[in-house]
Amino acid sequence: MLQLDLQQILSQSIAFLLLLLVLRRFAWKPLLGVLDARRQKIEDDLRQAAQQRAETIRLQQELDQRLGQIDQEARTKIQQAIIEGKRVAVEVQEEARAHARTVIAKAKETVDLEIAKARVTLRDQVTAMTLEAAQRILQQKLDAPADRRLIEAALDELERQGRR
Protein backbone atom coordinates (compact mmCIF):
# COMPACT_ATOMS: atom_id res chain seq x y z
CA MET A 1 0.00 0.00 0.00
CA LEU A 2 2.59 2.54 1.07
CA GLN A 3 5.42 1.32 -1.13
CA LEU A 4 5.69 3.70 -4.05
CA ASP A 5 7.03 2.28 -7.29
CA LEU A 6 7.80 4.79 -10.06
CA GLN A 7 7.27 2.15 -12.76
CA GLN A 8 3.80 1.34 -11.45
CA ILE A 9 2.93 5.00 -11.00
CA LEU A 10 3.89 5.82 -14.57
CA SER A 11 2.11 2.70 -15.82
CA GLN A 12 -1.06 3.80 -14.06
CA SER A 13 -0.73 7.27 -15.55
CA ILE A 14 -0.26 5.86 -19.05
CA ALA A 15 -3.16 3.44 -18.54
CA PHE A 16 -5.42 6.33 -17.61
CA LEU A 17 -4.28 8.40 -20.59
CA LEU A 18 -4.98 5.47 -22.92
CA LEU A 19 -8.42 5.05 -21.38
CA LEU A 20 -9.00 8.77 -21.82
CA LEU A 21 -8.12 8.51 -25.52
CA VAL A 22 -10.42 5.53 -26.02
CA LEU A 23 -13.35 7.04 -24.13
CA ARG A 24 -12.90 10.41 -25.82
CA ARG A 25 -13.17 8.66 -29.18
CA PHE A 26 -15.91 6.14 -28.42
CA ALA A 27 -17.94 7.70 -25.63
CA TRP A 28 -17.56 11.39 -24.95
CA LYS A 29 -17.47 12.68 -28.49
CA PRO A 30 -20.45 10.69 -29.83
CA LEU A 31 -22.54 10.93 -26.66
CA LEU A 32 -22.00 14.64 -26.09
CA GLY A 33 -22.64 15.14 -29.80
CA VAL A 34 -25.93 13.28 -29.71
CA LEU A 35 -26.95 15.06 -26.50
CA ASP A 36 -26.21 18.43 -28.10
CA ALA A 37 -28.02 17.42 -31.28
CA ARG A 38 -31.02 16.27 -29.27
CA ARG A 39 -31.03 19.44 -27.17
CA GLN A 40 -30.80 21.52 -30.33
CA LYS A 41 -33.60 19.53 -31.96
CA ILE A 42 -35.84 19.98 -28.92
CA GLU A 43 -35.09 23.71 -28.86
CA ASP A 44 -35.78 23.97 -32.59
CA ASP A 45 -38.99 21.97 -32.27
CA LEU A 46 -40.16 24.10 -29.36
CA ARG A 47 -39.29 27.29 -31.25
CA GLN A 48 -41.07 25.96 -34.33
CA ALA A 49 -44.09 24.97 -32.24
CA ALA A 50 -44.19 28.45 -30.72
CA GLN A 51 -43.95 30.00 -34.19
CA GLN A 52 -46.69 27.73 -35.50
CA ARG A 53 -48.83 28.58 -32.52
CA ALA A 54 -48.31 32.30 -33.12
CA GLU A 55 -49.06 31.74 -36.81
CA THR A 56 -52.21 29.81 -35.91
CA ILE A 57 -53.34 32.61 -33.61
CA ARG A 58 -52.59 35.16 -36.35
CA LEU A 59 -54.52 33.10 -38.92
CA GLN A 60 -57.39 32.68 -36.45
CA GLN A 61 -57.53 36.43 -35.93
CA GLU A 62 -57.31 37.00 -39.67
CA LEU A 63 -60.09 34.45 -40.23
CA ASP A 64 -62.26 36.06 -37.55
CA GLN A 65 -61.64 39.45 -39.15
CA ARG A 66 -62.44 38.08 -42.60
CA LEU A 67 -65.57 36.39 -41.31
CA GLY A 68 -66.61 39.69 -39.76
CA GLN A 69 -66.04 41.44 -43.07
CA ILE A 70 -67.99 38.75 -44.92
CA ASP A 71 -70.81 39.05 -42.41
CA GLN A 72 -70.85 42.81 -42.84
CA GLU A 73 -70.77 42.50 -46.63
CA ALA A 74 -73.58 39.95 -46.54
CA ARG A 75 -75.66 42.23 -44.33
CA THR A 76 -75.04 45.17 -46.66
CA LYS A 77 -75.96 43.08 -49.70
CA ILE A 78 -79.12 41.84 -48.02
CA GLN A 79 -80.08 45.43 -47.23
CA GLN A 80 -79.38 46.43 -50.84
CA ALA A 81 -81.39 43.44 -52.08
CA ILE A 82 -84.29 44.40 -49.83
CA ILE A 83 -84.22 47.98 -51.13
CA GLU A 84 -83.91 46.77 -54.73
CA GLY A 85 -86.75 44.31 -54.16
CA LYS A 86 -88.97 47.04 -52.80
CA ARG A 87 -88.10 49.27 -55.74
CA VAL A 88 -88.88 46.48 -58.22
CA ALA A 89 -92.12 45.73 -56.38
CA VAL A 90 -93.15 49.37 -56.64
CA GLU A 91 -92.27 49.39 -60.33
CA VAL A 92 -94.22 46.19 -60.92
CA GLN A 93 -97.17 47.63 -59.05
CA GLU A 94 -96.97 50.81 -61.09
CA GLU A 95 -96.75 48.83 -64.33
CA ALA A 96 -99.66 46.67 -63.24
CA ARG A 97 -101.73 49.68 -62.40
CA ALA A 98 -100.90 51.34 -65.73
CA HIS A 99 -101.72 48.13 -67.57
CA ALA A 100 -104.95 47.78 -65.66
CA ARG A 101 -105.89 51.34 -66.51
CA THR A 102 -105.15 50.69 -70.16
CA VAL A 103 -107.20 47.51 -70.15
CA ILE A 104 -110.07 49.24 -68.39
CA ALA A 105 -109.96 52.11 -70.87
CA LYS A 106 -109.96 49.74 -73.79
CA ALA A 107 -112.78 47.76 -72.27
CA LYS A 108 -114.78 50.93 -71.74
CA GLU A 109 -114.23 51.96 -75.33
CA THR A 110 -115.30 48.54 -76.49
CA VAL A 111 -118.42 48.70 -74.31
CA ASP A 112 -119.28 52.17 -75.60
CA LEU A 113 -118.83 50.99 -79.13
CA GLU A 114 -120.96 47.93 -78.51
CA ILE A 115 -123.59 50.12 -76.89
CA ALA A 116 -123.54 52.43 -79.89
CA LYS A 117 -123.80 49.45 -82.21
CA ALA A 118 -126.61 48.03 -80.16
CA ARG A 119 -128.43 51.35 -80.28
CA VAL A 120 -128.09 51.54 -84.02
CA THR A 121 -129.28 47.95 -84.38
CA LEU A 122 -132.09 48.57 -81.91
CA ARG A 123 -133.17 51.66 -83.75
CA ASP A 124 -133.13 49.81 -87.05
CA GLN A 125 -135.14 46.98 -85.62
CA VAL A 126 -137.59 49.38 -83.92
CA THR A 127 -137.88 51.29 -87.17
CA ALA A 128 -138.61 48.12 -89.05
CA MET A 129 -141.05 46.96 -86.43
CA THR A 130 -142.76 50.33 -86.39
CA LEU A 131 -143.07 50.34 -90.13
CA GLU A 132 -144.41 46.87 -90.04
CA ALA A 133 -146.83 47.85 -87.38
CA ALA A 134 -147.84 51.04 -89.16
CA GLN A 135 -148.31 49.13 -92.42
CA ARG A 136 -150.50 46.68 -90.67
CA ILE A 137 -152.44 49.38 -88.79
CA LEU A 138 -153.06 51.73 -91.66
CA GLN A 139 -153.61 48.90 -94.15
CA GLN A 140 -152.59 51.24 -96.84
CA LYS A 141 -149.70 51.79 -99.16
CA LEU A 142 -147.45 54.53 -98.08
CA ASP A 143 -144.54 56.29 -99.56
CA ALA A 144 -141.85 54.31 -98.00
CA PRO A 145 -138.89 56.75 -98.07
CA ALA A 146 -140.99 59.68 -96.89
CA ASP A 147 -142.47 57.65 -94.13
CA ARG A 148 -139.22 56.31 -93.18
CA ARG A 149 -137.83 59.86 -92.73
CA LEU A 150 -140.84 60.79 -90.72
CA ILE A 151 -140.45 57.82 -88.41
CA GLU A 152 -136.74 58.33 -87.97
CA ALA A 153 -137.46 61.93 -87.07
CA ALA A 154 -140.00 60.73 -84.57
CA LEU A 155 -137.55 58.26 -83.15
CA ASP A 156 -134.80 60.89 -82.90
CA GLU A 157 -137.26 63.01 -81.03
CA LEU A 158 -137.97 60.08 -78.73
CA GLU A 159 -134.30 59.35 -78.24
CA ARG A 160 -133.64 63.01 -77.31
CA GLN A 161 -136.48 62.87 -74.88
CA GLY A 162 -135.09 59.59 -73.44
CA ARG A 163 -131.71 61.17 -72.86
CA ARG A 164 -133.17 64.04 -70.98
Partner: protein, 261 residues
Protein backbone atom coordinates in the same frame (compact mmCIF):
# COMPACT_ATOMS: atom_id res chain seq x y z
CA UNK B 1 -8.76 -17.39 3.99
CA UNK B 2 -8.87 -13.63 4.60
CA UNK B 3 -7.20 -14.06 7.95
CA UNK B 4 -4.53 -16.33 6.48
CA UNK B 5 -4.11 -13.89 3.65
CA UNK B 6 -3.80 -11.03 6.15
CA UNK B 7 -1.20 -12.87 8.15
CA UNK B 8 0.70 -13.55 4.97
CA UNK B 9 0.59 -9.88 3.97
CA UNK B 10 1.91 -8.02 6.94
CA UNK B 11 -1.12 -8.36 9.21
CA UNK B 12 -3.38 -6.02 7.27
CA UNK B 13 -6.62 -7.89 6.59
CA UNK B 14 -7.70 -7.59 2.94
CA UNK B 15 -10.10 -9.69 0.90
CA UNK B 16 -8.13 -12.06 -1.30
CA UNK B 17 -8.32 -11.64 -5.05
CA UNK B 18 -7.61 -14.02 -7.92
CA UNK B 19 -3.95 -13.03 -8.12
CA UNK B 20 -3.27 -13.23 -4.38
CA UNK B 21 -4.89 -16.66 -4.34
CA UNK B 22 -2.60 -17.74 -7.16
CA UNK B 23 0.33 -16.16 -5.36
CA UNK B 24 -0.50 -18.00 -2.13
CA UNK B 25 -0.70 -21.29 -3.99
CA UNK B 26 2.26 -20.90 -6.38
CA UNK B 27 4.40 -18.28 -4.66
CA UNK B 28 7.56 -19.61 -6.33
CA UNK B 29 6.23 -19.19 -9.86
CA UNK B 30 7.83 -16.19 -11.63
CA UNK B 31 4.67 -15.64 -13.71
CA UNK B 32 2.52 -15.48 -10.59
CA UNK B 33 5.10 -13.26 -8.92
CA UNK B 34 4.96 -10.93 -11.93
CA UNK B 35 1.15 -10.88 -11.83
CA UNK B 36 1.24 -10.23 -8.10
CA UNK B 37 3.70 -7.38 -8.54
CA UNK B 38 1.47 -5.74 -11.18
CA UNK B 39 -1.91 -6.74 -9.74
CA UNK B 40 -3.04 -3.14 -9.26
CA UNK B 41 -2.30 -2.27 -12.86
CA UNK B 42 -3.91 -5.52 -14.05
CA UNK B 43 -7.15 -4.86 -12.18
CA UNK B 44 -7.09 -1.20 -13.25
CA UNK B 45 -6.61 -2.31 -16.85
CA UNK B 46 -9.47 -4.78 -16.43
CA UNK B 47 -11.75 -1.97 -15.31
CA UNK B 48 -10.51 0.26 -18.12
CA UNK B 49 -11.04 -2.49 -20.66
CA UNK B 50 -14.57 -3.17 -19.41
CA UNK B 51 -15.37 0.52 -19.55
CA UNK B 52 -13.88 0.85 -23.03
CA UNK B 53 -15.78 -2.16 -24.35
CA UNK B 54 -19.05 -0.92 -22.84
CA UNK B 55 -18.56 2.50 -24.41
CA UNK B 56 -17.48 1.01 -27.74
CA UNK B 57 -20.52 -1.28 -27.73
CA UNK B 58 -23.21 1.17 -26.61
CA UNK B 59 -21.91 4.68 -27.30
CA UNK B 60 -19.88 4.38 -30.49
CA UNK B 61 -22.88 5.09 -32.73
CA UNK B 62 -25.52 6.47 -30.40
CA UNK B 63 -29.12 6.46 -31.56
CA UNK B 64 -31.09 9.69 -31.46
CA UNK B 65 -33.72 7.86 -29.41
CA UNK B 66 -31.66 6.05 -26.74
CA UNK B 67 -32.35 2.48 -25.71
CA UNK B 68 -31.04 0.08 -23.08
CA UNK B 69 -27.52 0.73 -21.86
CA UNK B 70 -27.21 3.89 -23.95
CA UNK B 71 -29.70 5.45 -21.52
CA UNK B 72 -27.40 4.74 -18.59
CA UNK B 73 -24.33 6.02 -20.41
CA UNK B 74 -26.15 9.17 -21.50
CA UNK B 75 -27.37 9.70 -17.95
CA UNK B 76 -23.78 9.50 -16.66
CA UNK B 77 -22.33 11.63 -19.45
CA UNK B 78 -25.00 14.31 -19.16
CA UNK B 79 -24.72 14.37 -15.37
CA UNK B 80 -20.94 14.76 -15.50
CA UNK B 81 -21.18 17.38 -18.22
CA UNK B 82 -23.63 19.43 -16.15
CA UNK B 83 -21.46 18.97 -13.08
CA UNK B 84 -18.37 20.26 -14.90
CA UNK B 85 -20.25 23.12 -16.58
CA UNK B 86 -21.76 24.16 -13.25
CA UNK B 87 -18.22 24.75 -11.99
CA UNK B 88 -16.45 25.96 -15.13
CA UNK B 89 -19.26 27.52 -17.15
CA UNK B 90 -19.97 26.73 -20.79
CA UNK B 91 -16.24 26.68 -21.53
CA UNK B 92 -16.05 23.70 -19.19
CA UNK B 93 -17.41 21.43 -21.92
CA UNK B 94 -13.85 20.88 -23.25
CA UNK B 95 -12.79 19.47 -19.87
CA UNK B 96 -15.79 17.15 -19.50
CA UNK B 97 -14.08 14.14 -21.16
CA UNK B 98 -11.10 14.37 -18.81
CA UNK B 99 -13.11 14.84 -15.62
CA UNK B 100 -15.71 12.30 -16.74
CA UNK B 101 -13.17 9.64 -17.57
CA UNK B 102 -11.44 10.29 -14.27
CA UNK B 103 -14.70 9.91 -12.36
CA UNK B 104 -15.87 6.77 -14.15
CA UNK B 105 -12.45 5.12 -13.91
CA UNK B 106 -12.00 5.83 -10.19
CA UNK B 107 -15.62 4.98 -9.38
CA UNK B 108 -15.49 1.61 -11.12
CA UNK B 109 -12.08 0.82 -9.61
CA UNK B 110 -13.48 1.64 -6.16
CA UNK B 111 -16.52 -0.57 -6.76
CA UNK B 112 -14.40 -3.38 -8.19
CA UNK B 113 -13.45 -4.30 -4.64
CA UNK B 114 -17.01 -5.52 -4.11
CA UNK B 115 -16.66 -8.10 -6.88
CA UNK B 116 -15.35 -11.40 -5.51
CA UNK B 117 -11.81 -12.11 -6.70
CA UNK B 118 -11.22 -8.53 -7.85
CA UNK B 119 -9.27 -5.83 -6.05
CA UNK B 120 -9.82 -2.07 -5.89
CA UNK B 121 -6.73 -0.73 -7.60
CA UNK B 122 -7.40 2.63 -5.99
CA UNK B 123 -6.61 1.12 -2.59
CA UNK B 124 -2.97 1.25 -3.67
CA UNK B 125 -1.08 4.55 -3.64
CA UNK B 126 0.70 3.76 -6.90
CA UNK B 127 -2.63 3.98 -8.71
CA UNK B 128 -3.84 7.14 -6.99
CA UNK B 129 -0.46 8.86 -7.31
CA UNK B 130 -0.41 7.92 -11.00
CA UNK B 131 -3.83 9.53 -11.47
CA UNK B 132 -2.92 12.56 -9.37
CA UNK B 133 0.21 13.12 -11.47
CA UNK B 134 -1.93 13.12 -14.62
CA UNK B 135 -4.28 15.66 -13.03
CA UNK B 136 -1.30 17.77 -11.91
CA UNK B 137 0.22 17.74 -15.39
CA UNK B 138 -3.14 18.47 -17.05
CA UNK B 139 -3.87 21.39 -14.72
CA UNK B 140 -0.43 22.93 -15.28
CA UNK B 141 -0.79 22.49 -19.05
CA UNK B 142 -4.21 24.17 -18.93
CA UNK B 143 -2.66 27.00 -16.91
CA UNK B 144 0.06 27.55 -19.51
CA UNK B 145 -2.33 27.23 -22.45
CA UNK B 146 -4.98 29.53 -20.96
CA UNK B 147 -2.68 32.21 -19.51
CA UNK B 148 0.43 31.85 -21.66
CA UNK B 149 3.79 30.98 -20.14
CA UNK B 150 4.25 34.51 -18.87
CA UNK B 151 0.78 34.62 -17.33
CA UNK B 152 1.32 31.19 -15.79
CA UNK B 153 4.59 32.29 -14.18
CA UNK B 154 2.92 35.52 -13.11
CA UNK B 155 0.20 33.45 -11.45
CA UNK B 156 2.80 31.33 -9.65
CA UNK B 157 4.62 34.47 -8.51
CA UNK B 158 1.41 35.81 -6.96
CA UNK B 159 0.66 38.33 -9.76
CA UNK B 160 2.97 41.10 -8.50
CA UNK B 161 1.88 44.58 -9.67
CA UNK B 162 3.78 46.89 -7.31
CA UNK B 163 7.00 47.04 -5.32
CA UNK B 164 5.49 45.20 -2.39
CA UNK B 165 4.24 42.49 -4.74
CA UNK B 166 7.65 42.03 -6.34
CA UNK B 167 9.28 42.06 -2.90
CA UNK B 168 7.01 39.17 -1.91
CA UNK B 169 7.81 37.09 -4.99
CA UNK B 170 10.58 35.09 -3.26
CA UNK B 171 8.00 34.13 -0.67
CA UNK B 172 4.96 33.69 -2.90
CA UNK B 173 6.65 31.62 -5.60
CA UNK B 174 7.70 28.75 -3.28
CA UNK B 175 4.32 28.88 -1.55
CA UNK B 176 2.46 28.59 -4.85
CA UNK B 177 4.80 25.89 -6.09
CA UNK B 178 4.34 24.00 -2.86
CA UNK B 179 0.57 24.49 -3.13
CA UNK B 180 0.56 23.04 -6.65
CA UNK B 181 2.63 20.08 -5.51
CA UNK B 182 0.50 19.44 -2.45
CA UNK B 183 -2.64 19.20 -4.57
CA UNK B 184 -1.82 15.87 -6.24
CA UNK B 185 -0.43 14.58 -2.98
CA UNK B 186 -3.64 15.35 -1.10
CA UNK B 187 -5.74 13.91 -3.95
CA UNK B 188 -3.81 10.64 -4.03
CA UNK B 189 -3.55 10.18 -0.27
CA UNK B 190 -7.24 10.94 0.36
CA UNK B 191 -8.47 8.53 -2.29
CA UNK B 192 -5.90 5.83 -1.59
CA UNK B 193 -6.36 5.69 2.15
CA UNK B 194 -10.16 5.91 2.03
CA UNK B 195 -10.48 3.02 -0.41
CA UNK B 196 -7.80 1.11 1.46
CA UNK B 197 -9.81 1.62 4.66
CA UNK B 198 -12.91 0.28 2.91
CA UNK B 199 -10.99 -2.80 1.77
CA UNK B 200 -9.64 -3.32 5.27
CA UNK B 201 -13.15 -3.02 6.69
CA UNK B 202 -14.41 -5.62 4.22
CA UNK B 203 -11.44 -7.86 5.04
CA UNK B 204 -11.98 -7.55 8.80
CA UNK B 205 -15.68 -8.34 8.51
CA UNK B 206 -14.97 -11.27 6.19
CA UNK B 207 -12.45 -12.53 8.76
CA UNK B 208 -15.03 -12.16 11.52
CA UNK B 209 -17.52 -14.07 9.39
CA UNK B 210 -15.03 -16.88 9.00
CA UNK B 211 -14.36 -16.87 12.74
CA UNK B 212 -18.10 -17.17 13.38
CA UNK B 213 -18.29 -19.99 10.90
CA UNK B 214 -15.47 -21.81 12.67
CA UNK B 215 -17.19 -21.27 16.01
CA UNK B 216 -20.46 -22.64 14.68
CA UNK B 217 -18.66 -25.47 12.82
CA UNK B 218 -20.28 -24.18 9.63
CA UNK B 219 -18.67 -25.14 6.33
CA UNK B 220 -19.69 -21.75 4.88
CA UNK B 221 -18.56 -18.41 6.31
CA UNK B 222 -21.04 -15.82 7.53
CA UNK B 223 -20.94 -12.96 4.96
CA UNK B 224 -20.71 -10.17 7.50
CA UNK B 225 -18.99 -7.90 4.96
CA UNK B 226 -22.27 -7.72 3.05
CA UNK B 227 -23.59 -5.53 5.88
CA UNK B 228 -21.31 -2.69 4.85
CA UNK B 229 -21.80 -3.03 1.09
CA UNK B 230 -24.23 -0.06 0.99
CA UNK B 231 -21.71 2.01 2.94
CA UNK B 232 -18.91 0.97 0.59
CA UNK B 233 -21.09 1.83 -2.40
CA UNK B 234 -21.70 5.31 -1.01
CA UNK B 235 -18.07 5.89 0.00
CA UNK B 236 -16.78 4.66 -3.34
CA UNK B 237 -19.04 7.09 -5.16
CA UNK B 238 -18.24 9.95 -2.80
CA UNK B 239 -14.48 9.40 -3.12
CA UNK B 240 -14.68 9.34 -6.91
CA UNK B 241 -16.78 12.51 -6.79
CA UNK B 242 -14.36 14.24 -4.43
CA UNK B 243 -11.39 13.41 -6.65
CA UNK B 244 -13.23 14.65 -9.74
CA UNK B 245 -14.62 17.72 -7.98
CA UNK B 246 -11.21 18.78 -6.67
CA UNK B 247 -9.63 18.21 -10.07
CA UNK B 248 -12.32 20.44 -11.60
CA UNK B 249 -11.71 23.08 -8.93
CA UNK B 250 -7.97 22.99 -9.64
CA UNK B 251 -8.72 23.54 -13.33
CA UNK B 252 -11.09 26.39 -12.44
CA UNK B 253 -8.44 28.03 -10.27
CA UNK B 254 -5.94 27.85 -13.10
CA UNK B 255 -8.27 29.33 -15.73
CA UNK B 256 -8.59 33.09 -16.27
CA UNK B 257 -11.47 34.35 -14.12
CA UNK B 258 -13.69 35.38 -17.05
CA UNK B 259 -13.96 31.74 -18.11
CA UNK B 260 -15.58 30.73 -14.84
CA UNK B 261 -18.87 32.40 -15.78
Amino acid sequence: MAVEHAVAHGGIPELPNVITVLSDRWHDSPVVAFLHQWENLIFAALVGLTLSLACWRYARKPAVVPRGWQNLLELLVEGIDRFVQSLLGHEGRRYTPFIGTLFLYIWLMNLAGLVPGVKSSTSNLNTTVGLAIVVFGYVQWIGIRANGLRGYLDHLAGSPRDVAGWALVPLMLPIHLLGELVKPMSLSLRLGFNVFAEDVLLGVLAGLGLAFAALLHSPVGVPLQALVFPLVLIFSTVQALVFSLLSTVYIALMLPHKAHH
